[in-house]
């Protein structure tokens, strides 16, 4: 019994592996140039968020992205999960006012509370579209999960701009690029409405990290990856425990099964 079983397991494993490879290659084959793979701190079965990078990324979001992009699923209180204290969060939001209704039903501005979701730059989709040449900037709450290649794509977009004078004539012709268009290597169709948002020294980091374009893009991607799935570390931690437990239980079940069948083989 033992040998054929081991062989079967091997064969099914090989089939599973082969179908994965086929699947991955199949995905890679379609679409525009795909962004280069970068190593992220949160990748792999034991990967965690780099808290310092994510905090810097929050600063980039707050000072740059937040002017146009909402982050409507994240609340200020969630920032404590990035290692900020409750008082630091209160300090961060002390100048933010949000619109609410008072007891008489009239709209009033009140100071933001930690339980509030991130303030949106525009009151609604239509207003956001109207202020941005007809297309509302997407909400960034789950952006890393909502794009193929996830973090690599976000980082690719932020660093993938090519100025007009660096484009080849062939590219200009093929994609019909005008002087005012923003050309991005990794955006499907290449012409992206968003002007290059980041540049060297766009922000000044409190921890002394040099704010290069690369650094800012990587940091804000780390932050957005966290925003997309704040419970990721919990998920992986639980997963390690669950799988170790299941392997132990499967091993014992196998021993029991063999014992029960001992006289039938």
């Amino acid at each position: 019994m033992r040998k054929p079983f081991a062989r079967n397991l091997l064969v099914s494993g090989a089939i599973a592996l082969a179908s994965f490879t086929v699947g991955t290659v199949a995905i890679a084959a379609g679409g525009t140039e795909h962004p280069p793979h970068r190593h992220w701190h949160f990748q792999g079965p034991f990967g965690t968020f780099d808290r310092a990078a994510a905090q810097r990324g929050f600063q980039v979001y707050q000072e740059v992205c937040a002017a146009c992009h909402s982050l409507s699923l994240v609340a200020y209180r969630n920032l404590t999960e990035l290692g900020l204290t409750e008082n630091q969060v209160k300090g961060l939001i002390k100048d933010i006012t949000v619109t609410d209704l008072n007891d008489e039903g009239a709209p009033v501005d009140r100071p933001a509370r930690p339980s509030d979701r991130f303030k949106k730059p525009f009151p609604n989709q239509a207003a956001a579209a109207a202020a941005n040449n007809g297309k509302a900037p997407p909400d960034l709450s789950v952006i890393v999960k909502a794009r193929e290649y996830g973090p690599d794509y976000i980082y690719g977009i932020l660093t993938g701009y090519v100025p007009y004078d660096k484009l080849t004539p062939a590219q200009i012709k093929e994609f019909d690029v005008k002087k005012d268009d923003n050309f991005n290597k990794y955006f499907p169709g290449h012409k992206i409405a968003m002007a290059p948002p980041l540049s060297d020294d766009k922000v000044t980091y409190a921890d002394g990290t040099k704010a290069t374009l690369d650094q800012e893009a990587a940091d804000v991607t780390e932050f957005l990856a966290w925003a997309s799935e704040p419970h990721m570390e919990d998920r992986k931690r639980t997963g390690v425990r669950v799988i170790l437990f299941l392997i132990a239980l499967a091993g014992m079940m196998y021993a029991v099964k063999r014992m029960v069948w001992a006289d039938k083989h």
Binding site: A75, R77, P114, S115, F245, L246, A248, L249, M252, M253, A255, V256, M259, V260, A262, D263, K264
Partner: protein, 188 residues
């Protein structure tokens, strides 16, 4: 099931076999319990619900003798600006007359031990079966003890919100609150 050990084979050592069976069963039971927990825990209040579990109320607009009702954690909270007479009346009641003895002083103390007898803050839910007692609005019946009266089963509360008559077993519950300034109170 009913007699599993009798049907199993007799080849291997019964002690070893029983041990393996019991150990596997025990591990399986641990697993089942661990699986049950997330299903139960799922129904607990979520993080956003917990984050909303404190409110701040401005006391300035409430005149002496008036009361307001605010919603906190989905329930009415009575805030009464008591008159001198009401405070005196509440303080004068002997403990022996109370089904649930409690001094008035204790019921008007905030979490920082600050006593402000003019402000009575209570959860407006009758301790009998959960109705909202009358008496918070002008014109409501206040019951024979000048406080609140529950229309469902006739419980009467005094000017300190203590049960005096009727089926309710306990005084109206005083939530945790803190006067953050003269005019502001944070409940929860």
């Amino acid at each position: 099931m009913a007699s599993s050990s009798t049907t199993a084979n007799g080849h291997s050592d019964p002690t070893r076999r029983d041990f393996l069976m019991v150990a596997t069963g025990a591990l399986g039971a641990v697993g089942a319990a661990a699986v049950a927990w997330p299903f139960i825990n799922n129904l607990n209040p979520a993080a956003d619900t917990l984050a909303l579990s404190t409110i701040e109320v401005n006391l300035q607009p409430i005149a002496v003798g008036q009361a307001v009702t605010v919603k906190w954690r989905g329930k009415p909270v009575f805030i009464r600006h008591r008159t001198e007479a009401e405070i005196k009346e509440a303080e004068a009641v002997p403990m022996s007359q109370l089904p649930d003895p409690e001094t008035d002083n204790k019921r008007v103390t905030d979490t920082a031990k600050k006593v402000r007898p003019e402000w009575l803050i209570m959860i407006g839910v009758c301790t009998h079966l959960g109705c909202v007692p009358l008496g918070n609005k002008a014109g409501d019946p206040k019951g024979e003890f000048g406080g609140w009266f529950c229309p469902c089963h006739g419980s009467s509360y005094d000017t300190s919100g203590r049960i005096r008559k009727g089926p309710a077993p306990k005084n109206l519950v005083v939530p945790d609150y803190l006067f953050t300034s003269d005019a502001l109170v944070r409940i929860g």
